[in-house]
Symmetry: C3
Subunit: 485 residues, 3 copies
């Protein structure tokens, strides 16, 4: 224990990571604010209110036609992606699993409440009584909104304090809601799976923040910025749940009937072909053709991101396969070449490589969406189908598909701008020396923010010792400190 | 190996944990009894029987209106909570993961069969032919019934034999079915998510058993009554699946339509706010403000327990947040102050702290339910909505909401009485020296009941052994000692 | 690190496991072929096409009656079984978790695309335009088809290269589609959960391949052909998700309404009783009555396999329990006696014991199906129910149930023949010395095909060393080799 003790003290000297006041304060105050705001603004909508019985009879509906039964299974899948998917995907670091799962849990739980309010004001406000009326679709959208911030977390994983993450989330959700309103309502672009709204925004938001928080001496934490065998297996739990449930993600809020059906099929296919090209490139660029777990854990998901926008369009099964094919290659190459380049020359330290998994595929998804929309014809969609798919109704009744394509592209630009601009702004705020972030030699480590079980805490350095040195005499304390300095 | 060998022999000498005859005997005999009883009593109901085709046409229904499509997705989520949720939540101990997941699996698999019979006799008996007619709702209720026993398992985790657990389950299910019948049918209290029926009963049932099985020398197993890094990560799998699917748990058997919809929303919100207050209190009471995994793994779930009863009422979104807010605080404080107090002064050893996660929040849930019911007004619910929500039909047609509130409170008392009383009774039975439970110095250890992989098997005893050896020569063993003392 | 290095070089010398050219080539070429074939053949069906809006109105349907809402929740559960269930079930080996999850991921992702084509040509070809029209049911069937190959993978786990697995899958899917067409369409046997089509075929397919690839010196890899504590816990994730979602597997493509409802209930019950008998036998045959994780991980699933065919019939709840009861016993005994026997005398090395989990229970399931079908009477099923359940329509309108029983048995034979025959054929191909499979002393090891994290690679031997010797001087190289030879 003495060793661990002195080590902790060492850290505390170099930088104060004590969040004993700030973290509880932020949690309590913000949660209290949520309660007040919910009290003032949020009510049940007609499908989750006890008046549904009357509503149902007036509209001659069956209970099964309550939106709950159209969307709840997808909602639960999305929920799993947010908490287990994102959470475990980030457990790959050998000593940051608590932070990965735990902080992901914390910011998602706060984010979804704030998202219900922000998105509610923009989309679900009932002007008759000034209340936000929520149902299952709002819950899904709140989870989507949170996803943007969890993506950003991936870029700064292990380098920030929980308080910083909460700030990142507060601003991230706010920016998201505005950006989403502009893209979906004003520009009237379609983005069912959020290639633009969620992944492009979230990706660039996180990368800009990471750029603002650049740590020149991060290499002092190199020993911990790697995985161990079982942490890679834990990460595969996240990968697989994201991969399996992505069809639900992209189809969760699409039109009832064929819309959800088609979006699920397209996503299922895109993801399948991504896996093969990821494996191909991963093997091709490693010595002895060995596969790299980083690629399998991340790039296999790129296809799901890239069909996000076009999933509900008539992308055609082969179209989905092509999108997945390209993204598997691009994303894996990104991990091999781009990530090191960005760190070295652009000063962007991207722990999880979100640029390869979210930002790039998100942009591709936006472009694919624009092209597919512009190419849509009545002969393929059918008159009514075309109208339904692109919501050419009301003020947009006479919009042409080519015009729609242009608006899709415009939406993509908005997402990028909000991501970069918002990230720089928030990054500036997070640079204030008040947030209790870890020292450069103590990143990727659960030790500053978590009570760790004793024995495990001691094992890794000891192994290091036996690895790297051939010293005959053995004094536990010595080699312990050696291995850590 | 020598160390492990002698260590094992030591255990075997002190107490006989050999269940080679008792365990197979109980499993085979009880399973055979199930087959016979199912043969005599259990049949398919009209929605799972081949006659559904005719039934459907007579009642002019569509296939999609089969209860299966209303409830099956929720059932599957509940099923995951029972087997993965409860199972993995208990894997946090460094050397009891097999027992946690494996015995949870065993008793749940037995319990759900016995529950189908017990609950069937009380609720689904068709008096025309004396058969129990089952459908998906019965499966959900069986899983609920099992949950009560799994909660109780949490209190005695690591201190009992699988045979004792099966006995605990047999009586637990029986008591549950009676208690449930009294509360739901006779008292006509509502308890959709089982705050009273499941959590309060299960919690006090387990605590009373643990009190009856008090082990004064349990500290001899201290070295194993802690987690290691990756066992805490495994436990988070359980936590997250419980947390994510809790909305399905509380909405699984509520009314079709708005009932299920509203229950899911309320639970989703209550759980979200619990996470923030849990983090706040956990950080506030640890030195350096570090988070404790025990709190994150358990207290974050308290909100789901506490909205169990009121989830289907018009609790309002802010009401759910308030309930979650309070429970996160109370549950975490419970882990910090109450659990040690109970062990020291009340002689209740509660391995998983079920008092903080289930018993207390369950009671709170019962009270919240009583208040919400008493406060229900026709202006909020609508005449028909009020009738539907509280089933004011038949003999209860003219019950007032204030009267309903009183009956809710009465139901809570019944749950507590059955839990405590039943626990003392069963605890008395489990104290018989015939069950093969482990010695005080061999608790929280998979070794007595599981064939363990070789190399892993050697580590803990070695640590133990080296801890107690005071060897002068400095070799690997001694550093271990240092690192542990 | 030198040690690991030299060890790697050693392997590479003895046998070339470099797949740097073959693996990428196969992935890229085959995926490209898929894109072309999908472009030529595959389109959306009327329920996933934008024309659904018109279709729906013509047929006076509600959106909720789109097949998507009948099957999507089951599909997602099946999807989880394929990728997490099968993948993690095979992570039990101490050093083959990457291969287990990763290669399972790879071949499933390829297999489902090829399955959509193969099954499509046989079942979903629209003769008006020569296109295969796909919807959610096709996705489920593709996952089913893949399951057959994943079962086969279990027999050769750790002994083949990823390229061999892809070849195994290509032929496996092809054989599956033909066999399925003969059994379901020509013979008109019913097999909802695929006891025959999936498990019997897949089981014997894998066993025959393993027999063809017999390795007399496999004992050189003994040190790695065992689990460690946490790899067994990882495997339980797979076990539980398979166990929990099996009701969805067996009910995923059964008739709407009572068909799905009944299949889920039967599977739920069969699996429950399997757990108890598995525990009983496992304890009965181990010294000190200790449970063996291998049995808990695998035999507890046998009941789900064995009710696969009869799940949609009126098997009756007690009938399901009986099937599960027997299979738990037979499967566990298989692991204890049959697997060693097969390896020693039949030269069949079955890594995961698929003979006990899939082949045998599959055959039992086929027999149960035949008997249940032959015993079906109009008094039990009802005239219309009988017709619906067995699809006695069109050319089969006047088939008797006894005749149906005979055809079920015939179907079982076809499955066995295709499995054995196909396995021998494919095994012959896989024996070509071009596939980069590992040497006998390097099986069950991720090292040949995966970049492994450094330190973990060193852990196990070191523990061994410190256990077995009390030698003062530490020469890393020595003890490394000692502990491994």
């Amino acid at each position: 224990m003495g060793a661990a003790q002195s080590f902790r003290e060492l850290c505390d000297r170099t930088k104060n990571t004590n969040v004993r006041l700030s973290l509880p304060a932020v949690c309590i105050v913000w949660q209290t604010a949520m309660i007040i705001l919910f009290g003032v603004f949020i009510r049940y909508n007609e499908e989750s209110d006890t008046h549904w019985v009357e509503y149902r009879k007036e509209n001659n509906l069956s209970d099964i036609q309550n939106d709950f039964y159209f969307r709840y299974p997808s909602f639960q899948d999305v929920h799993v992606m947010i908490f287990v998917g994102f959470g475990f995907l980030m457990t790959f670091l050998q000593r940051y699993s608590f932070g990965a799962v735990g902080f992901n849990f914390l910011i998602a739980a706060f984010g979804l409440q704030w998202a219900l309010l922000m998105q509610g004001w923009f989309h679900s406000l009932d002007y008759t009584d000034g209340k936000i009326k929520i149902g299952v679709e709002n819950l899904i959208n709140a989870d989507f909104c949170v996803a943007g911030c969890l993506i950003a977390y991936g870029a700064v994983l292990g380098k920030v304090s929980p308080v910083q993450l909460l700030v990142l989330t507060l601003f991230g959700i706010t920016l998201f809601a505005v950006e989403e309103y502009i893209i979906l309502d004003l520009i009237h672009a379609k983005d069912a799976g959020g290639s633009m709204v969620i992944h492009t925004f979230g990706g660039y938001y996180g990368l800009s923040i990471s750029w603002m928080l650049y740590r020149p001496n991060l290499d002092q934490s190199n020993r911990l910025q790697s995985s161990v065998y079982h942490s890679d297996v834990f990460a595969m739990i996240g990968t697989l749940f994201l991969w399996m449930f992505w069809p639900s993600f992209n189809s969760a809020i699409t039109d009832h009937g064929d819309g959800q059906h088609r979006a699920a099929i397209n996503t299922y296919l895109a993801l399948a072909s991504t896996v093969l090209t990821t494996v191909a490139v991963s093997s091709l660029f490693q010595k002895h053709g060995k596969l790299d777990m980083v690629h399998i854990q991340n790039s296999t998901l790129a296809g799901g991101v890239a069909v996000g926008t076009a999933a509900e369009f008539m992308l055609m099964p082969y179209g989905s396969l092509i999108v997945g094919f390209c993204c598997g290659i691009i994303s894996t190459l990104g991990y091999i070449f781009l990530t090191p380049f960005m760190e070295k020359y652009l000063k962007i330290q991207d722990t999880c490589g979100i640029h390869n998994l979210h930002a790039m595929p998100g942009v591709i998804g936006g472009i694919v969406g624009a092209i597919t929309a512009a190419a849509a014809t009545e002969s393929v969609y059918g008159a009514e189908g075309l109208r339904n798919t692109f919501d050419f109704e009301g003020e947009f009744a006479d919009r042409s598909t080519s015009k729609q394509g242009g608006h899709q592209a415009a939406g993509l630009c908005v997402a990028i701008c909000f991501g970069v601009g918002g990230g720089i702004l928030v990054g500036f705020i997070l640079r204030l020396p008040i947030w209790g972030d870890p020292a450069d030699d103590n990143c990727f480590n659960d030790e500053p923010y978590w009570e760790l079980p004793e024995d495990e805490e001691v094992v890794p350095p000891m192994l290091h010792y036996n690895n790297h040195m051939h010293n005959k005499e053995i004094d536990f304390h010595t080699d312990w400190t050696i291995s850590h300095s």
